[in-house]
Point group: C2
Chain length 340, copies 2
DNA sequence: CTGAAAGCGCTAACAC
DNA sequence: GTGTTAGCGCTTTCAG
């Protein structure tokens, strides 16, 4: 017995009505009498009818769903963003389809192509570490396909973007380390190509400059795959430990935990002497050891804002031409306060 | 300019062919000449044609996608399961749609109803803590809709199920604590209604019994929402600390980290005296403090196995009537080994 | 207030 | 080897 759900036709047949009447009744159209509506609705309920969203999509040329592309859902930051996305989307009756790139540009492209080929009405994207060519996204967007970028946004792409104040977050974190008496501050960060990498590096440099500390590029290590491969982090850290440094500012969730794990294992003697400040949205930082001062991004909020914008784009009567980039503030949480 | 992707018709028109020829060429049908195929394929590529999956779904009455319902993607265990699911699904050309219950039975039902109404061809489900009525799932399954349960599985439901050896995982963890000299072992666990709760409780009791330790129900605390609400964990822990105990076995990711966080904050003096063993698939346990011995489930594997079974069900020529429950082994990792 | 009919993009049985 | 046609389930003119 194959699964065979009931259709509008079944209802029409049973009630001796036309499919159009049933359709209208289901959608509570004003042209249908109250009695007929009740009749249809009751029977629909009785036979457990639910409209076939596929058929509806085909007809209306939209799916009432949006896609979100992130590097990894296991990353707390992204799962929180997704919760924000869902909170808005479900309110407005959109389904959310999640897809992961695992920091691969190729998977990103495949996901975009699949999703945009009419599976979803618009796309929320945080770029992968590996991505450097987004021409295909531009083409898509120029054809009128709604795209909103968040977190890791491209520079020269005219659409809505939502991101954190990465400069300030990095600046504050670095300054926090400086104010605690540190002068040799290392920086472990993501792929050079990402917007967030550049902004956070600038924030780090800004704080150093303000406090008259010379920038030393030997203290800065990039991870091309954002720490997706543990080995990459390990090598960066090993390189850092060739230098002398008394504090480190880390630019990302995966990198922060990666640093903690590897340095704890490999450099157990040194680790307690090095102060740490890092971007992370982990909700268990209070049990991390060594402990760190964290820069926390408003992930849930970011998801909400981005989704609001995307749905606006999708539902806009006429194409939008004026876009803006929204910047949300980060929060610095001193490691001492984590224990309260 | 609205987004208007090209269709099979555009190709047919441009090449002076019929839509069916184009369709056949695209699907590499044997009845089409090599030349025509090449013509079509080349043109399709040129105009960036991709088939409309919606139309295909409507026609074929299937979507080539499967749904997975979990309590929370932020939970490491589930995100690892999802990665396993995707690895198989993508191989077999299925899309994966993820949805979260946040431990709410109502959201679970809504998700199932939405997804099963032809958005996805089958469902992988790990039940929410709150769920106690799955009649609607039985109805669905009896109508021929493919469902595979994993992790938190129902008892009286005849379909494929994939789960860990929860009894043995719990038994080993508890025995580990006993062998380390502990006698008063508390147990913090999930909702009473879940299969995993019962099995792990039995494993805990089994180990106590083997070592002639009396079972004390005051040492066992349940969390109706699996620790979804922090307050719930806090209360359970406060209640436990009314008793005397020198070790604790914790039955779940969220509960394990919840215990660590709350007891560290609220009972900082006592915490180091209490040995901990807990189920968790966190990949950062090595930086947790206090540290704990962990029971790790083969999450990725579980996702793969469950997906394999589900796709078998979906693609089966005739309804399957013989189901089995597959049990995967857990792994006990001594806290001492985490530091290596 | 309701029904008939067309059509969304695709596949496939049936011609030729 | 290719074209014609019907139909998947729904919405929506257009008629009445």
């Amino acid at each position: 017995m194959r699964f065979k759900p009931s259709t509008i036709k079944d209802i029409a047949l049973a009630l001796n009505l036309s499919t159009s009447t049933v359709s209208r009744a289901m959608r509570d159209s004003y042209e249908i009498s109250a009695e007929t509506k009740k009749l249809v609705l009751d029977y629909a309920k009785k036979i457990n009818y639910t409209a076939n969203p596929i058929a509806r999509s085909l007809k209306e040329r939209r799916s009432y769903s949006i896609g979100i592309i992130v590097s990894e859902i296991a990353n707390n930051f992204y799962s929180q963003v997704i919760n924000g996305v869902e909170s808005i989307a479900h309110n407005k009756n959109y389904q959310v389809v999640i897809s992961q790139t695992h920091e691969s540009a190729e998977r990103e492209k495949m996901n975009v192509e699949y999703l945009s080929s009419r599976s979803v009405d618009g796309l929320l994207i945080s770029l992968s570490s590996e991505t450097n060519n987004i021409e295909y996204l531009k083409t898509l967007h120029n054809q009128g396909y709604p795209i909103v970028f968040f977190d890791r946004i491209p520079e020269d792409f005219d659409t809505f973007k939502v991101t954190s104040n990465n400069f300030k977050g990095a600046f504050d974190a670095t300054e926090h380390l400086i104010l605690n008496g540190h002068r040799r501050i290392a920086h472990l960060t993501n792929s050079k190509s990402l917007s967030i990498t550049k902004e956070r590096l600038a924030g780090y440099q800004g704080a150093l400059k303000k406090h008259h500390i010379a920038y030393d590029e030997n203290l800065v290590k990039f991870s091309e795959y954002g720490g997706m491969h543990m080995q990459e982090i390990d090598e960066a850290i090993d390189a850092l430990f060739q230098q002398k440094f008394d504090a480190i500012f880390i630019s990302g969730d995966k990198l922060s935990t990666g640093y903690l794990m590897y340095s704890k294992k490999k450099y157990p003697k040194l680790i307690s002497k090095i102060a740490i400040a890092g971007f992370t949205n982990s909700n268990v930082v209070s049990i991390f050891s060594p402990s760190l001062t964290v820069v926390r991004q408003p992930a849930f909020e970011m998801g909400k804002v981005a989704t609001d914008l995307l749905i606006q784009m999708i539902e806009a009567k006429r194409p939008i031409t004026e876009y803006e980039t929204i910047t949300l503030e980060t929060e610095l949480i001193d490691e001492k306060d984590l224990k309260l």
